[in-house]
């Protein structure tokens, strides 16, 4: 393998280019119109234009990505995450064109990408799943039968629409008395929304944590699980902070959850990097949720506590090498790592996207700090893609040192020109609930609702006065007129006015 095409953009494209460089492999970038000058393009050895700004015109175009690989003589393709990373047609198109796809086989992507098939695989491997009805319950299924199933699953139960999505046709039932009316309500809602009244039942797990297990599998039958990651700090089901190891997983639980994760992967002959996601309830019981058949956004925290470069291993596995990692080392975390996803979003206006020109960027560094970023001063955050600009990762001897370093790093982090979630993270890392690891997957949404739009950005009086002094000095010495431009003020107020009108997006 001499030349790898990276079918992605942003920080993950930069991350993969770095792995290629570390291994003496050439990197080929692809780019859309607005990404011509993006960091991943300039860092790569070669770069190929693949179309317009909309992902459907460029980064999702299988034909153009494969053509770019052929044109540049690349022998392999790394999909990153998102875009085509979990698209079995893309993996198959690479294989059919004689390109090595750095990831699982198209068959494994298709199988584990289906929630119901993945759930069946877990059940067959003897791994617990959230208890539920295995089959769709159509209108002809009598209430008594449904009541029997609910009894077997155990209350509280969730009623979900088989054709569902977006919370439509979903009901939480806490006791048997409410069941039949909730079933009727869910069915009529499902009928209206999806034209299909079929439902299924699932146990409602109260205050679950999201715990996941990273895996690597080679082409010779070896699967190695890694120490778990805790990703319970989520906003609307999107991970915001991840850490490893989980503050609530004991060594004994770690052995069980990681060997279960590996058992599912082995049972389907899984190769390359993947992640098994679990819910962990308050009593320490875990349930398989789903599998991600790709490299995860949060992979660096695992790298920080194990010293293993997961992207290099993806490449080595793809070229047929045997996994030579000591399985015990992968499960023995050295210290603690935390990641904050820095988004170009204004947390003070309900996390509204804040694309635009990055006028200045001060990035933290020093002991234990890693900044995986695709952004730089002078660059643009385009409006067309996910607004993740950087992943700030810290390592510490233990959790409290890692938290202290994250606070220090966030203090150093300054992005000028666009709004980012840095002020939100500065606030979050001070919360006693976070420090004491008292949280679950709905924790952050609840806290945000209670705060009702209160701003996260708090500046002390001393620094507000310093800002006034600096502005005066800047202005009287030929400061750029932008500072004086009254027209600039209403723009920021217009943002806030709009956010108020929108009820802060919540």
């Amino acid at each position: 393998m001499k030349r790898i095409l990276i079918a992605n953009r942003g920080e993950i494209a930069v991350r993969v280019i770095r792995a290629c460089r570390d291994m003496g492999i050439e990197a080929v970038a692809v780019y859309s119109d607005c990404d011509r000058a993006a960091r991943h393009v300039r860092l790569a050895d070669e770069a190929v234009h693949i179309g317009g700004n909309a992902p459907s015109e460029s980064y999702l175009r299988i034909d153009r990505v494969v053509d770019a690989a052929k044109k540049t003589g690349a022998d392999a393709v790394h999909p990153g995450y998102g875009f085509l990373a979990e698209n079995e047609d893309f993996a198959a198109a690479c294989r059919d064109s004689g390109l090595t796809f750095i990831g699982p086989t198209p068959e494994a992507i298709a199988l584990m990408g289906s929630k119901t098939a993945a759930r069946q695989a877990a059940i067959q491997a003897g791994v617990p799943v959230v208890p539920g009805s295995e089959e769709a319950l159509g209108v002809d299924v009598p209430d008594a039968t449904i009541a029997g199933i609910a009894e077997r699953i155990g209350y509280p139960v969730m009623i979900k629409a088989v054709a569902g999505g977006g919370g439509k046709g979903m009901r939480i039932v806490s006791s048997a008395g409410d069941l039949s009316s909730s079933v009727r309500g869910a069915r009529s809602e499902a009928q209206t929304a999806f034209g299909d009244p079929a439902i299924y039942l699932e146990r409602r797990i109260l205050n679950p944590r999201h715990v996941e297990v990273q895996l690597l599998g080679d082409q010779h039958g070896t699967v190695i699980p890694f120490v778990e990651r805790e990703c319970s700090i989520q906003r609307r089901h999107q991970k915001v902070i991840e850490e490893t190891p989980s503050p609530v997983v004991s060594p004994e639980l770690r052995m069980r959850i990681t060997s279960d994760a590996a058992a599912i992967a082995r049972s389907v002959g899984y190769t390359n990097a993947g992640t098994m996601e679990f819910l962990l309830d308050e009593r320490g019981h875990f349930y398989f949720l789903e599998m991600n058949t790709r490299l995860q956004v949060e992979h660096p925290i695992t790298e920080m506590v194990t010293g293993i470069d997961l992207v290099q291993w993806q490449i080595r596995i793809a070229r047929g090498e045997k996994l030579t990692i000591d399985p015990a080392a992968a499960l023995m975390p050295r210290g603690h790592a935390i990641e904050c996803r820095i988004y170009a979003e204004d947390a003070d206006t309900g996390f509204m996207p804040s694309p635009g020109h990055i006028a200045g960027l001060r990035v933290p560094s020093g002991p234990g700090i890693r900044d995986d970023s695709g952004a730089e001063a002078g660059g643009e955050v385009p409006i067309y893609y996910d607004p993740l600009i950087s992943k700030l990762i810290v390592w510490g001897d233990d959790r409290s040192q890692a938290i202290a370093r994250m606070r220090r790093a966030l203090r150093e982090y300054d992005v000028i020109g666009i709004k980012t979630t840095v002020p939100f993270f500065r606030w979050m890392l001070e919360q006693p609930d976070f420090v004491d690891a008292r949280f679950h997957t709905a924790y952050l949404d609840e806290v945000l609702r209670l705060r009702a739009g209160q701003p996260f950005t708090s500046v002390d009086d001393e620094r507000i006065e310093v800002a006034a002094i600096a502005a005066a000095i800047w202005q009287m010495n030929g400061g750029s007129p932008v500072l004086l431009d009254a027209a600039d003020r209403p723009r920021s107020s217009a943002w806030k006015a709009q956010a108020r009108t929108e009820g802060l997006r919540d």
């Binding site: 170009a344 509204m352 996207p353 804040s354 694309p355 635009g356 006028a359 200045g360 001060r362 409006i383 067309y384 893609y385 996910d386 607004p387 203090r411 150093e412 982090y413 300054d414 000028i416 020109g417 840095v422 002020p423 950005t457 500046v459 620094r463 507000i464 006065e465 310093v466 800002a467 006034a468 002094i469 600096a470 502005a471 005066a472 000095i473 800047w474 202005q475 009287m476 010495n477 400061g479 750029s480 932008v482 500072l483 004086l484 431009d485 009254a486 027209a487 600039d488 003020r489 209403p490 723009r491 920021s492 107020s493 217009a494 943002w495 006015a497 709009q498 009108t501 929108e502």
Partner: protein, 168 residues
């Protein structure tokens, strides 16, 4: 000369005495804030100012109407005595009485127009949908009115601050 500065909505009256030895913004300035005087040592590095006030160290970056002090943003407006400074391009906030100008809060693409000229609109009624970063944002009327003008065109890209719809 007195300079009035609004910082995060708070008004400061500042007197700044520039030392004769100052080069550009570098030098030791005498600054009095609301009557209290202190020495402010300034050194400029690129777009960043290092300030030493007494022995306390601050890093300041200026970006438009936002001044970052040690990474913390403060919204600034320098309030001039001369009214000419306040005349910028037309914005939503100096529109004629009773007129509402609906502007794009961020750069994006006009996905859908929900009203046409002459339509009556209620408070909070959706007027236009602008897409940015895979998210659709519906811009709504702040108060009841009639659509006077529709400047947005479906499918086109707009800059932040662009006037999309005018209500009266």
């Amino acid at each position: 000369m007195t300079i009035n500065v609004d910082a995060n909505g708070r008004r400061y009256a500042l007197e700044v005495i520039r030392p004769p030895s100052a080069k550009g913004r570098d030098g030791s300035f005498l600054v009095s804030v609301d009557g209290r005087q202190r020495e402010v040592d300034v050194k400029e590095l690129g777009g960043v100012l290092s300030l030493l006030i007494g022995s306390k160290s601050y890093e300041v970056a200026v970006a438009g109407s936002t001044v970052h002090v040690d990474g913390m943003p403060v919204v600034i407006a320098v309030v001039a005595d001369r009214p000419s400074w306040s005349r910028g391009p037309a914005t939503a906030f100096d529109a004629p009485e009773g007129e509402q100008r609906i502007t794009a809060p961020m750069p994006g693409k006009v996905v859908k127009l929900l009203v046409k000229p002459g339509d009556r609109v209620e408070p909070r009624q959706g007027l236009v949908v602008v897409e940015a970063m895979k998210m659709e944002n519906e811009l709504r009327a702040r108060a009841a009115g009639a659509v006077k003008e529709v400047r947005a065109v479906e499918g086109t890209t707009v800059e932040a601050g662009a006037i999309l719809i005018v209500l009266e």
